[in-house]
Amino acid sequence: MLVIRCPWCGERAETEFNYGGEADIVRPTDAEHLSDREWGDYVFMRKNTLGLHREQWVHSHGCRRWFVAERDTRTYQFKSYEKLGAHAMEKS
């Protein structure tokens, strides 16, 4: 079982969490001007990264917060964790 560190609650067992897929996918603001292909890209297309992968997790049986984790898909080792929005705030 993986031990995952929730940014609020600390280290908890994997069974308390649910996986939320690739992180940093931004909903297009001009959806009405998108072609079907571009919209399909946003909705369905995901990277299948070998190595470091930024992904979303939710502490479903704990504080129910979403956060972003960086995990190596080859070793399943978590490299870093951050609260949701922290990345966006740094960039702006």
């Binding site: 609020w8 609650c9 067992a13 308390e16 504080c63 129910r64 917060r65």
Partner: protein, 210 residues
């Protein structure tokens, strides 16, 4: 025609003594249901001006802002659920109408206070084997050095979500388990099974001695 409504706890299937369901022995492990505890869910931004002070005024207790900690006052216990969410548990014998008091005190603040008394069941496990019984279903480290008095945690008990709070009852280790009403029967039956090895033969669920 019915003129009175009988309030029933979700453990009615296990027997229905007036003070709530109990099983076990305090010298080993004792499970006791605390029926009809007043619980209020409070949401709000701790950073928003005046919010924490208004809550303190209204319920007499600070809101804990450190994750998974508890703050207590004379008649209320506030448990951290999330950065902007708390569960307030009345500790007095009478309901204190917390939700309405908060509504009145917080006025135009951005908040939500919701009475959830009928949505949850409160179970207390006490005695020297209480921790061992809980540990059978929990992925958390329940040892006192990791989980002390004044801490709470939302976690799993076998397949259901629970909120655990560590208590100290006159030097006796005890735990309070707050579980959704619809899972209470499941949670208690699986605890009864976990308790069996510490109680020895001949103690059937429903019988109890204090």
């Amino acid at each position: 025609m019915w003129t009175e409504l009988d309030q029933e706890t979700p453990l009615v299937g296990l027997g229905h003594p007036p003070g709530g369901f109990t099983h076990g022995q305090l010298g080993s492990v004792l499970l006791a249901e605390l029926p009809f505890v007043e619980l209020t869910n409070l949401r709000g931004e701790p950073g928003s001006p005046g919010f924490l002070a208004a809550v303190l005024d209204s319920i007499g207790s600070e809101l804990p802002t450190t994750p998974n900690t508890v703050a207590t006052s004379a008649d209320c216990c506030a448990m951290w659920l999330a950065p902007n969410e708390w569960l307030l548990r009345s500790t007095g014998a009478q309901p204190t109408d917390l939700a309405r008091r908060l509504d009145a005190a917080l006025g135009r603040q951005f908040f939500a206070a919701t009475d959830q008394s009928s949505g949850y069941s409160v179970i207390r496990l006490s005695g020297p084997h209480a921790r061992a019984v809980l540990a059978k279903g929990s992925p958390l480290d329940l040892h006192p050095r990791a989980f002390g008095v004044g801490q709470c945690a939302q976690t799993l008990h076998f397949k259901t979500s629970v909120l655990l709070r560590r208590l100290d009852l006159a030097g006796q280790e005890a735990w309070e388990v707050i579980v959704r009403r619809s899972f209470a029967d499941y949670a208690v039956r699986i605890m009864l099974d976990a308790m069996e090895e510490y109680l020895g033969p001949g103690v059937a669920p429903g019988s109890s001695s204090h």
